[in-house]
Amino acid sequence: MTALFPLYLAAGAAVLAPILLHLRRKMPKTQVEFSSLQFLAPTPMVTATRSKIVRWLLLLLRCLALLLLAAMFARPFSLTQDTVKGQGRAVVIMIDRSASMQQADHWKQALGKSRDWLNKLSPQDQVALVTFDRSVQQVSAFTQNASRSAGDRAVALQTLACGWAGTDLGRAVVEGVSLLNEASKAAEKRLVVISDFQEGAEIEALRGFAWPESVSLTTEPVTVKQTNNLATSLVAQVADQDDDAVAKAGESWLRVRLANARESRSENFALRWASGEIAAEGHLLPGATRVVKFPRPESSEPQVLTLTGDEWPFDNILHIAPPQPRLVKVAVLAGEGDAGSVDSPLFYLNRALVPNSKLSPSVVMLNNDSKTSALKDAGWLVAMNDASASAAAQVSAWVEQGGRMLCVVTDTNASFLKALLGTEVSLSEADVKDYALISEIDFAHPVLKPFEDVRLRDFTRIHFWKHRTLKAEGLKPEVVARFDNGQPAWLSISRGKGRIVVMLSGWQPKDSQLALSSRFVPLLFGLMAEAGISLEQPSQFVVGDALPGGEAEKPGFVKTQDGRTLAVNVPPGESRVNAMDFGLLTALGVKMHAVDNATVSPADQERIANEELESRQQYWLIALVLLLFVLAMETWLAGRKSAAAPLQAS
């Protein structure tokens, strides 16, 4: 047992004071007023009842209080053999393998520091080796490493390679702490993080994390020689330019964000295509961010943009995927009629499903005697109720296998529906006075997802001049919407794995104003989305994102099974290479360990180690509790004594 501030123990000599006070000849405190002293003779003074046990107890308690006070200030701690020699520690060495470590010799430095740490540890120490970027990869666990020699550890280190993913320092530290908790009983638990500690590293995971008192974090930053880094990231690809003056039909434009590091000395930049052609160039002040716009080459090939002007090459290449609208086959099955007539629903369907940069629907008219194979690659089917009943069997089979279709009832011909649903169906013209409105809509239904926002839910301006009523035996369709006369407007019927949506009124002007309203196109796209045809199909990813074929591991282009080309880039956060403020970690409750490096003298190291040992053991708290107890006892005893009967005549 030793003390952090042993000089305070000298204050224990203050116990002499109460001893002397107790031993002195004490004048009685109580005074008695008496009428006359003429008949009294003074009694020789004696030490105030020293033999009483209460006095001794009081003296003992007072001395004890002073000794405890001195001990508390001296901050005692127990110095065991293990802690002196640094044995029996549990250490997790975490090496940052994020993309920013690709720069210069950062990775080499990290490996060197890891090696140094491994060499510093004694065989009694438990060591776990971990690498991290946006996730944590365990290289060796405590149990595996316990028996490993220094050579084995070096081999384990050599197998490591730097990655291209982003840095989630917070998550890594949290997992490191949980790994330390798995370690068997150790004198000290230390987390050693070897990283460039760039400010782009995420530390959000530490928010709300209760840092264990027994664990301390040692930061081992690699030396970053300079931060002259310009970074680039793609903001958006747009079909055409907002600025009419430079717009060209069919031209695709790129918006690229450029960011310059705070302490960068590089200010001039140039963005070049792979062909060497300059896409954009200019001047960017340190710490500034700017978005530049320029047209992409008229090519359907993936493009690579290279940024020049800085000294950090790892994030200078921007991979840009080509515009790849999704090809969707929309099959249409209708009776004989002029699809080009404004009275035909197909006229409006063809015009609503125009290709855009993300989706390219192709409307394919099916013959009534088409076979199931014709529907095989169809993403969605739109059928009119006047279609031939002979085609219904194939359609029904397709739906049951998972196909999604829309059936529009434009007249009272029920033969197709009867064949499609396989039940007795009758259609009749509803009695509509002036017009009908849609009043009850189930917006929670998947086909109405585009109308999730309450501001888009107004269907009251769409008048329905005509609609039909459907009666089907044994069929219990789900009503998606009703007219204001209570009749169903849109029905949803599940068939096997698929679904049939039935509209009991056409959208052409003869039946209703639906096709001419602003709700028509979103409604169609909602139906298509419900059929699994999504508009959102990103083609730009960062390393670590989940791709259709697995996780993106490095920047570049990835070909998917459906022939699309995806671009993978370095996470933008990795380009923020300025050093992190460690105060942020402390503010989040991380208990930092003193830096173990050559700048700290051995004496200071010992002092710091002792301080940490003392702060862990906190014997002073025990002394404080005892002191309070002793003081309470002393107060009680002293009070009890003074509360005794006052001196007076009986």
């Binding site: 004048m27 009685p28 109580t30 005074q31 008695v32 007023e33 008496f34 009428s35 006359s36 002293l37 003429q38 008949f39 009294l40 003779a41 003074p42 009694t43 003074m45 001196l647 007076q648 005549a649 009986s650």
Partner: protein, 295 residues
Amino acid sequence: MKTVAAIDSASLMRIKSLELRARVVVEGLWRGLHRSPFHGFSVEFTEYRQYTKGDDLRHLDWKVAARTDRYYIKKFEDETNLRCHLLLDQSKSMSFGSGGFTKEDYAATLVATLSYFLMQQGDAVGLTTFGERIAEHIPARNRPGHLRRLLTELERKPAFKGTSLQASLQGLAELLRRRGMVVLVSDLLAPAQQLEKQLGYLATQGHEVVLFHVMDRAEIDFTFDEAALFRDTESGAQMFVDPAAARPAYLAKLKGHLETVRGICEKHGVNYRWAPTDQPLDQVLLSFLAERGSK
């Protein structure tokens, strides 16, 4: 004299008004006196009372009997002009008390009772309060409002420190020209030698001197338990005293002092009345009056 239920001093002193206290004691006295078997005890008594069997016929008022056909015992007219002077010690030592009231309270009540009693009889009563010197001197009178003046003076408590019987009695002897009765109420905590000279001087002037020696029970028996610093109320002197050790010597000295005082009183014909504060006041007065009546 019949034995009457005495009012204990502590209960009496709880009555705040001095006048009321005096009245309570006097009423008790009257009850005791009216039933007293001692005939003619009340030489200064100026009151009629109904004749009871056994009364001395010499005291029967024949004029009243002839007029009213009732028998009353007659007062002695020539003995009603008693001049009584009450002398009250108000020194600091009188402020000591252990039973919830001080000697001063007891003495003031005693003086007030005597005043009330005597004024009722038509006697002239005067009052002199003293400490180191005479504080107030009210000549003996018997007229309306005089009792109130006496009681007001008794309720006033001057801040005297010491006692100087010598100076006070000497001053009083000069003030009292006509003979009468002098009643001294004091704790006599002063050298007895001083007392002897002045009491003798008063007695030689022809005064009938009565001394009520008031003492507290704690002073008489020295009933203290623990050792403490005893402080003289008059001089302020302090002395460490262990009661257990000091009691025998104290009691011996006190006894000597009391004997000296009694001896002086006997020598000079002073009527010495022992009045410890725990003794009911009416008993003290009744015994005094009874003794006096029997003379």
